[in-house]
């Protein structure tokens, strides 16, 4: 496990272990509408992360005493598959970590989904980590956002999340698993790109004020790329069908 004693050299010759620059994202691929049975779904690959997100609803709340007569409620379940990573994740049901992540993701979405349109209803979000390689809560949230849009749920914005942090004194974007384990600070941030509102911010370790500001700048800069990929994924579902006709003619 991670400790100071066996910490590997994370930055070699000004580059990170996987050859990325400090402000470089891992390659991201998003596909929308992958699950036929769900009302909305998305699949994301961010580096070695492979994550499925599915959305069901709006539907009647069960048990009924959980229902809110003024607005819809969101239920979110983040879970790691037993085969998702090297450690013992997901082998004995939801653990404290999974429950916490489910809660913070739910709260991020409660700020953007127009819940008042569906009183007495619930919207279910499922995030299943098939393969985890660091930054899964951020990638899961990015995918869930696309899944919500593809379910036709009204939202103020298509939100994204990505982590930033510190290795030594360098501020670095989008940690992978090994950087996450040995880094000096790790900070996942979710942002609504329309007005750069922060919807989720957690931090392990410590950052100075300057480092914090730099980290937020990196996240917002990278967010433009992530947002574009999210929008392309949603448009691609329909563009695919249009291309079918163009080829025929």
């Amino acid at each position: 496990m991670a400790s100071k004693a066996n910490k590997p050299e994370l930055i070699v010759g000004g580059k990170r272990l996987d050859g990325r620059a400090f402000d470089e994202l891992r390659p991201i691929k998003i596909e929308a509408g992958v699950l036929k049975n769900a009302d909305g779904s998305a699949y994301i690959e961010q580096g070695n992360n492979k994550i499925l997100a599915a959305v069901y609803g709006p539907k009647e709340v069960f048990p009924k005493h959980d229902a809110d007569p003024t607005k819809a409620i969101i239920r979110c379940k983040y879970s790691m598959a037993p085969f998702s990573s090297l450690e013992g994740h997901g082998r004995s049901g939801p653990n404290r970590r999974a429950i916490e992540i489910s809660k913070v993701i739910r709260e991020a979405f409660e700020n953007v989904v127009l819940l008042e349109e569906f009183p007495n209803n619930e919207i279910d979000i499922f995030i299943e980590i098939l393969q985890g390689d660091g930054g899964t809560r951020a990638a899961g949230l990015t995918a869930a956002s696309v899944a919500l849009a593809s379910a036709g749920i009204p939202m103020k914005d298509l939100i994204y999340a990505v982590s930033a942090g510190k290795i030594g004194e360098e501020v670095v974007l989008d940690f992978n698993m090994i950087e996450d384990n040995y880094s000096d600070a790790d900070m996942p941030i979710a942002i609504a790109p329309r007005n750069n509102e922060v919807l989720l911010l957690q931090m392990d370790g410590s950052l100075t004020k300057q480092q914090f500001e730099k980290a937020v700048d990196l996240v917002i800069g990278a967010g433009k790329k992530i947002s574009a990929i999210q929008k392309d994924a949603l448009r691609e579902v329909y563009a695919k069908i249009e291309r079918k006709y163009e080829n025929k003619e």
């Binding site: 009302d39 909305g40 609803g57 709006p58 539907k59 009647e60 127009l114 569906f118 009183p119 007495n120 209803n121 849009a149 593809s150 379910a151 036709g152 749920i153 009204p154 939202m155 103020k156 914005d157 298509l158 609504a192 790109p193 329309r194 007005n195 999210q230 929008k231 949603l234 448009r235 329909y238 069908i241 249009e242 006709y245």
Partner: protein, 204 residues
Amino acid sequence: MKSIVVPGEQIPGNVKSGNVYVEEGKAYATVLGLYDEEGKRIITLEGAWNPKMDETVVGIVQEAGRNNSYTIDLSSFRRGVLLLGKFSKAEFKVGDVVEALVDRVNGKKEVILSNPRLLRGGVVIKIKPTKIPRVLGKANTMAKQISELTRCDLVVGSNGIIWVRGENTALAISAILRIESDAHVSGLTEKIKEMLVNNTTKRS
């Protein structure tokens, strides 16, 4: 000209109503949809059914209660309720397919139905409720075309359930399912006509 918009995307120009979020005088889309510049509106591509008065719906009788009252499955999170009263002659059994009009939605989000009509025989298919306007077409042209070319009776419920009965139900269903998946393509009526004509002539 229609273009696809995603939640949070700023809408150029103004929108008459619905599916937008206004902040500081600028309109942003709230749903995944098609922005129709001429109609100044956003047509949703996905999402749940929103009942409106006097819409036709098709449902399946789920439960028969006292005083000729029925619970109707509308394949939605909203339950359909049919209250006929003891003086009504109409009577339904559980499992019957019923066509009815939306009267109102009550406080419990139940859809109160009126003017029920029993649909005998036939096949029931479910599609996404957002695609129903496309299945009907402008002034019902699309639905009429399918029904004439396949010699089928169609009842299109705005809740996403369609009842089909007639000579060539298989063709009618495949046409409807194609409209569901290709709803955003322009000039679809002509393309569906071509498909229907080709398939019917081949057989005879």
